[in-house]
Subunit: 714 residues, 2 copies
């Protein structure tokens, strides 16, 4: 592994292609760097200038008189590969390539050159960022190796002065977006450590950087902006590591829209992949999804103040000096799935002692201007936090007055330190700088966006659940299946598509449904099998060439008696052959009709990035109209299988609606876990599995898989 320390914490930096012309990127970059008090050495490399912005320039990297840790390449794309090689030769340990025009170019040429860059980096074991990167910043060393306008002419130091060290990192594929996080977040006093923009990721990817920063141990919160994930295994390992370490990842992923998918491809050559799969992966690893830079910065601010006091539930207490603003916040909380319960009676009595008759302690606790004047915002918030039936606190205030909170300074510091429940503060007016600083110093997140405030509290609760889950015993992967070898033989022996009776035979080895009924090759055989079944039967044509049996007229249901079965047999053979004249029918599956239950679907599909993903959902109209399905990577633990079912909007159906009995959820979970294990074991062989429908019977009566299909990989 190359030395990322040389990249991010270099003592010497060469700028290859540096120019004094500040209207061009190669001039803007050194100009921006030099406005920050970096203590290391900077060596411009230029063929046309002997001095650039007061620094002696050298005509080649080889000519720089000291060992260079980081080289920044700001030269036309056609020269980049050779120059990178020369850097390697010169012993440079890391490189940042800001030049554009590689994989994001139309045509194949750019991709090929990018490939070459990767090989050169590997050959010299160099840590290479880019190409098409907007650079990076390191607040600890005051490095702004970028031409980003967000780092130009800074009016404030990179790090708010009361923070000894930065604790937040931005790692983003897009340079403009990456630095916009800094721009928006610095204004809100967020203590950044790193801002790194990875561009086309020819070598280093986002999760290489996150991994390095986790190991380095200085960064507590990560803001990520992804166009794609190039190395899914790295993503999984690093996301899991961050979750276990309790270092939240807050991410946005491009590609909810087709337009963004198109754009990502042309922008950094990224293949955006299915957004739904990413959302499922994020949920699985407790990664908070943000919808804008402001929101992500606000969530980071809230996490930062509350990492040691994550909420154990979703019940929020709201303290306010304005009834209208407090009530609006209650609505915003409800909109984010939080609860705002009436406070318990003892807590209310404590609070009531300080309220005028036109205030209220119910929750939101409206102290009115009067109580605020008397006991103050901080004390009111503290009293609300003591109510046993809340898990977190939102303080609503107006922070607009200069030094408006000064008389409460000590109380706010105490509040920030001693609160045992998480807190977020919302100012419904634009806060004065003095308030922003006071809150930041006191370790209290001061947000100006009501909705983000509610969203942040919900994100804390979600993160707590995901993290508890990751550390919980029920999150262990399922046991290896003892029938794996047998199943492998069956799969190897079969054709490219396993139709129902084949698929079910394989799946039954893993405990997924029961083995199929009898396969009849003639009407007589069908009658005999039906007689043995002893009640109404279903007949289903079996052929790998007829995946949609019902559409082909290949299914007959509820047949009783020899005549009905015989008729049914003839009818479906005739219909199926009429619709699929070239199909090779293997016979007709004869089975007892499945008893009633809730219609479910289970499936496995290979995501091009993340491999097999398990899909679960309610069948019929639910999937058709409501898309009420949930997705997760395999294998699934008991914990994640439960969580998966819990995210379905129709989950209540399984409890029994309109007089229906509760469903056998345990059997459903077992089936899901076993299917996830099967999908994991056969990740290389199987492209797709469809179990549709799966009938979930009443509690204690299991599930029936009524149709199944397995498609092998080509």
């Amino acid at each position: 592994m190359p030395d990322l320390n040389a990249l991010l914490n270099p003592r010497t930096i060469a700028i290859i292609g540096a120019s004094p012309d500040e209207t061009r990127l190669r001039g803007m970059l050194p100009a921006v760097m030099l406005t920050h008090p970096y203590q290391g050495k900077i060596f411009p490399v230029s063929r046309s200038h002997e001095e650039i912005m007061g620094h002696q320039a050298y005509s080649s990297i080889a000519g720089v008189p000291e060992p260079v840790e980081l080289a920044i390449l700001a030269i036309p794309s056609r020269f980049v590969a050779d120059e990178l090689g020369r850097c390697g030769e010169a012993g440079v340990k890391a490189a940042l390539i800001v030049t554009s025009g590689f994989a994001e170019e139309s045509g194949e040429c750019g991709k090929a050159v990018q490939q070459e860059l990767a090989e050169i980096a590997r050959a010299y074991d160099m840590a290479v960022l880019g190409p098409n990167s907007e650079g990076f910043a390191n607040t600890a060393l005051s490095i702004a190796a970028t031409f980003s306008p967000a780092m130009m002419a800074p009016s404030k130091p990179m790090l708010p002065p009361w923070h000894v060290e930065g604790r937040v990192a931005v790692v983003a594929q897009s340079g403009a977006v990456g630095f916009s996080f800094f721009d928006v977040g610095r204004e809100k006093e967020l203590p950044f450590r790193y801002v790194v923009t990875t561009g086309n990721e020819a070598c280093l990817e986002i999760f290489d950087l996150v991994d390095f920063m986790l190991d380095e141990g200085k960064t507590d919160i990560f803001l990520l902006f992804l166009e794609d994930v190039k190395s899914p295994q790295k993503f999984k390992a690093v996301a899991e590591k961050a979750l276990r370490m309790g270092k939240p990842l807050i991410a946005a992923k491009l590609g909810r829209s087709q337009a963004a998918v198109r754009a990502a491809a042309s922008h950094t050559g990224a293949l955006a992949g299915r957004y739904e799969t990413y959302a499922a992966m994020f949920a699985h690893y407790g990664i908070t999804i943000g919808d804008s830079a402001e929101q992500m910065v606000d969530i980071a601010n809230t996490f930062l103040a509350n990492l040691d006091r994550l909420p154990s539930g979703r019940r929020i207490g709201i303290s306010t000096g304005s009834g209208g603003a407090g009530a609006w916040m209650a609505d915003a909380c409800a909109g984010e799935g939080l609860e705002v319960p009436e406070l318990d009676a003892d807590a209310r009595a404590e609070i009531d002692a300080h309220l005028p008759t036109y205030g209220t302690s119910q929750n939101p606790v409206d102290g009115t201007a009067q109580a605020i004047r008397e006991i103050g915002y901080a004390e009111l918030a503290r009293l609300v936090s003591l109510a046993p039936n809340i898990d977190g606190l939102v303080m609503v205030a107006s922070a607009r007055k200069k030094n408006g909170f000064e008389r409460e300074r000590d109380n706010f510091f105490k509040l920030g330190q001693s609160l045992e429940k998480p807190i977020a503060c919302w100012s419904y007016t634009l806060p004065h700088e003095t308030s922003v600083e006071l809150f930041a110093e006191a370790g209290l997140p001061l947000l100006t966006n009501m909705r983000n405030c509610a969203r942040s509290m919900a994100a804390l609760a979600d993160y707590r659940i995901a993290r508890d889950g990751a550390l919980d015993a029920s999150s262990a992967a399922p046991e290896p299946n003892t029938n794996r070898a047998k199943a492998e033989k069956l799969v190897a022996r079969s054709g490219p598509v396993l139709c129902e009776y084949e698929a079910r035979a394989v799946l039954a080895l893993y405990g997924i449904g029961e083995a199929p009924g009898g396969l009849a090759k003639s009407a007589d055989e069908a009658v005999a099998i039906a007689a043995e079944a002893g009640r109404a039967v279903a007949l289903k044509i079996q052929s790998p060439d007829i995946p949609h049996k019902s559409d082909a007229g290949g299914v007959a249901l509820g047949l009783e008696g020899a005549d009905a079965v015989r008729d049914g047999y003839d009818r479906i053979i005739t219909a199926a052959m009429a619709s699929h004249p070239d199909a090779e029918p293997r016979g007709v599956l004869v089975e007892r009709m499945a008893p009633a239950g809730v219609e479910f679907i289970l499936g496995v599909n290979r995501d091009p990035t993340f491999g097999p993903m398990l899909l679960a959902g309610f069948g019929g109209i639910h999937v058709e109209i409501w898309k009420d399905t949930a997705l997760a990577p395999v294998p699934l633990s008991q914990f994640s299988a439960k969580a998966l079912i819990g995210t379905l909007k129709g989950a209540r159906i399984l409890e029994g609606l309109r007089g229906a009995p509760p469903s056998d959820v345990d059997a459903l979970l077992e089936t899901i876990i076993a299917l996830s294990q099967f999908a994991t074991d056969f990740a290389d062989e199987v492209a797709e599995i469809d179990l549709n429908p799966v009938i979930v019977h009443a509690r204690g009566e299991g599930v029936s898989i009524v149709d199944a299909l397995i498609v092998k990989q080509r």
Copy 2:
């Protein structure tokens, strides 16, 4: 009607209870007022001071030497009523009561005093704002009659200097929230005309003020914050007037959560009412719902710039200098239901001429830093706007650099004036003041929140549809029903609950379903009626005491032949009597089984504020799990009935899914319109109507109402 002009545009103002103590509201108010250059006269009225903040004080309102147009009352609540009377006697035309402690007090006393205030106001024909109001501001006259911190120590004039006149009004029940709109919006250069906070609304309500401002003709956009609506007829009339005049209302309504409903009651004594009803009313009148002050301000800014060029669709073109930011915006647009189509080929060719090879014209159009340097942001945006297959434009830029757009100044002004499609601009970095001012002067909305930017464009599109609808002929109310008198007789004659056969007989007069089948009083009669029906029949017990027939065992379906009908009759009579021993059965309804179709529900419920509201939705599991219902005020025009059905998420079901035929939507619409007419005509007599289920048959085959119930008002 009292003189609102005296309230909002007074030439003389008395401050009753004024004090020099700026730590108290009665001292803050004059202090805030005097920091603004109001040109009228201010008369403090005080019993304890002869002079306040440089102004001579008077010991009573009667002692003020000139006619007072507006009196501001900042005295303890127990003195307010008498003082208001004295103001009336003294010929004061308008009053603002900032004192708290009226209807928002626990107990009845405060409400009674508030009632008294209303009577005094009426007696003297005074325009009275409050009590419990935080006051108001009028930027045209530099009046800040408020103690709001948002109006203290202003660093800028109330109105941005390049706006000759304010065009935006805030009218809010909550004072803190009302002035927070100003605080947030002034920073974004929004040209406010009025900020009015109505408090407890003892006399003047939000829509009185909106109505005055519409008539005055100076205000183009309204930002409203509602806790409740006290006069629904006024709301309807003013909302309709605003829509027809093309003056958008952007509103937030408290009460999505139970906590907010509790809070509103204790805060201004408001009865928040059902949020869903409000949302339906807002949709009906084209009122945009906002989720935060920032969002509402951003939407207002976007409307302001585009009132004359509302979009004719939801297709957005995006121009950008950053690929990542542009793609993220595309995702945000998709999230708000907008489309970002690939631009048409000719437009692309025009644009491609200016792009480097690593840019793209597909949409988002990524000019990259290079094209921005060469042709500029404004020109790139203009080129994108010319694509025929987009309806609106989002320009993505970084506005962070001081004077960063100066060289494009003329182009931006041209863009603001000559664009024929609406535009919103998003800066992904915090904009420099110079950029904020340039864009505001050029008439281009510059937003910093990506999501709000997308939301704003969607709001323009929604508003255009609602307004076109209001002006469209198909929005005419339905014709009066000629059978109204007959129906009135039937309703008058019946008991408090009309069971199915009675309800359907009444409804059939309005063309809502067919008249019911035969009512059998004995098994023999049932057999005879069934024989005449000539195919399988349903039997249904009829009794006003058994509203849930199926639960009571009072329904038998699909009976064929005399024996089955006779058995069925006996069975349901026995079961129904067993479950409801005291019920008075009127007989058993015998009807042909309704043919298959889509299960729908229709209903009418009285909202305590707005009266009868019509509910439509898909039946069964759809309503149970998905709450897929839509609500609208009655009567419904053809246009609004169609719009109502269109808002159902399952609307696609009516097109025919999974091989089902398309449904008879025309018949469904006719039924809905007729039901809405019935609900209007019987608004005073009928409390509730339930048609559940209504079976919508295949196109051309109408609908069947399979069960019906009407509950009269008590």
